[in-house]
């Protein structure tokens, strides 16, 4: 019953986010600030994780290719498919649910605890629009981060494959280009956009409606990470079934 009530509150929150907009002059600077905090500040960790995930995928694939009849360029193919279809959009989104999500929950939660949200409401500001809308818009740039993740992941696979002595650069590139389905890119970015919305809104919900003090801010951050991850995993399944099934 509680879960249903939460889903209802979440839906009401989303409706409120788009009502009574904040002045564009102020909103513009809020959006730029959020792009910096949510996207640019996450690029380092995204690049780091993507590089090593791509490298590990290439090595694991190479180590499992024991049959000499299977061409080595499969390593490039497997790296591309794994990184583009799952690791970049889904795995990185789970990481972002932790990094960006906990930042969103704790920053909004702290504003709740210190009555800053009440101060906004008293002034007549639509606090949900002021706080959450810029985050949603900033997260529209998330697919660019995922595009970088895809590139770096494949580059990591190439580095590990070639410099690890598992295959030649030519083989890797041949694998990379074989059986390419452009729709897979569209599928990955549709997923990414939906995950971006989830990463912006679920942690905002947990921060905005939290009650209590500093300890509860920490608890809300943990809860928001768990729920954001759960929703991403479930949506990943549904979207894969709908778009590729």
């Amino acid at each position: 019953m509680n879960y249903l009530a939460s889903v209802g509150s979440y839906a009401i929150m989303i409706r409120e986010v788009f009502k009574k907009p904040t002045k564009w002059r102020i909103m513009k600077s809020l959006i730029l600030k959020e792009i910096d905090e949510l996207i640019f500040s996450s690029l380092g960790i995204i690049i780091f994780i993507s590089f090593f995930i791509g490298a590990v995928v290439a090595i694991q694939t190479a180590l499992n290719l024991t049959n000499p009849l299977i061409p080595r360029d499969l390593i490039g193919f497997a790296t591309r498919q794994s990184v583009i279809l799952e690791f970049a959009p889904t795995f990185v989104s789970i990481i972002m649910a932790g990094k960006v999500g906990s930042y969103i929950t704790s920053s909004i939660g702290t504003m709740r605890v210190t009555e800053q949200i009440d101060a906004l409401e008293v002034m007549g500001v639509n606090s949900l629009n002021y706080l959450v809308f810029p985050k949603i818009i900033a997260m529209l740039f998330y697919p660019f981060a995922i595009a970088i993740s895809m590139y770096v992941g494949i580059f990591g696979g190439w580095m590990a494959g070639v410099f690890g002595g598992f295959l030649t650069s030519e083989d890797f590139i041949t694998g990379l280009q074989s059986d390419f389905v452009p729709f897979h890119i569209a599928y990955a970015f549709v997923k990414t956009l939906i995950f971006a919305f989830v990463i912006a809104t679920i942690p905002s919900f947990h921060g905005f409606y939290m009650k209590g003090g500093a300890l509860e801010v920490g608890k809300a951050s943990t809860t928001s990470f768990v729920w954001t991850s759960v929703v991403i995993i479930i949506l990943n399944y549904i979207l894969t079934q709908l778009l590729l099934g």
Partner: protein, 255 residues
């Protein structure tokens, strides 16, 4: 002027406000006192329009809040200034940014006009060199002054303060009390203060209402509070030996 007409407010089974009727006049500092849990904060939030009473209503200059359209409610909110217990300054903004915030949100003033107004208001609350400091870099007393500056920057008709002296040393508390009283008279606004601080009651309380268990137990002036024989009020206000002696001295003087 604010007229509170028999307001009731409940949360689930908890009946917090059980029918409060009173009036807060323009240009006066009105104090709401009462023990923790007496309903003071809910009462203040009703006055601010954050909670709507289930029964009764609150009229601002003669018009009930519930009769306002959404746009009128928004306009009314802009005529209210609020000083929160913990100041509630925006951490990510400087002192200047905090005070300028309502102007940026709700006026079409140019940057230089806004800056001029912010300078004037900060000067009024005696904060000269703190414009570019962040809330975490200034003292609690200074934060309260910034909160007052932010509350009056839009020339409000109504000023609400929730425990404005909490966490302040007695000297700074007196400075804040005096500042609120001066501003109330200077701007001719209706000020309502929630407080536990009996020094404030004695110093600036022109009208005092005492809430007990969600009911208005007593109301009067600060002179009347010395003479009252209402047991609940005397137990609360004169719970300390110091205030008992002050009261005795006042009564002896009167006799």
């Amino acid at each position: 002027m604010i007229e509170v007409r028999d307001i009731h407010k409940s949360f689930g089974d908890a009946h917090i406000l059980k029918g409060i009727t009173t009036t807060f006049e323009k240009g006066k500092t009105n104090l709401v006192i009462g023990q923790s849990g007496s309903g003071k904060t809910v009462f203040l939030k009703c006055l601010l329009g954050l909670f709507e009473p289930e029964e009764g209503g609150i009229a601002y200059d003669g018009k009930l809040y519930s009769e306002h359209t959404d746009d009128e409610k928004r306009d009314l909110r802009q005529e209210m200034g609020m000083v929160f217990q913990g100041s509630a300054l925006f951490d990510s903004m400087t002192v200047e940014g905090n005070v300028m915030f309502p102007l940026e949100m709700f006026t079409k003033q140019s940057k230089s006009e806004m800056k001029e107004r912010v300078d004037a208001v900060l000067k009024r609350v005696k904060l000269i060199d703190a414009h570019h400091k962040f809330p975490s870099e200034i003292s609690g007393g200074m934060q309260k002054r910034v909160a007052i500056a932010r509350a009056i920057v839009m020339n409000p008709k109504y000023l609400f303060c929730d425990e404005p002296n909490s966490g302040l040393d007695p000297k700074t508390a007196i400075v804040i009390d005096d500042l609120i009283k001066e501003i109330t008279e200077e701007y001719n606004i209706t000020t309502v203060i929630n407080t536990h601080d009996m020094n404030s009651v004695m110093q600036i309380g022109e009208k005092i209402i005492f809430l007990k268990d969600g009911l208005l137990e007593w109301e009067g002036t600060k002179n009347e509070i010395f003479k009252t024989d209402n047991e609940a009020v005397t137990n609360f206000v004169y719970s300390s030996d110091l205030f008992k002696k002050v009261r005795q001295m006042y009564i002896q003087e009167q006799n």
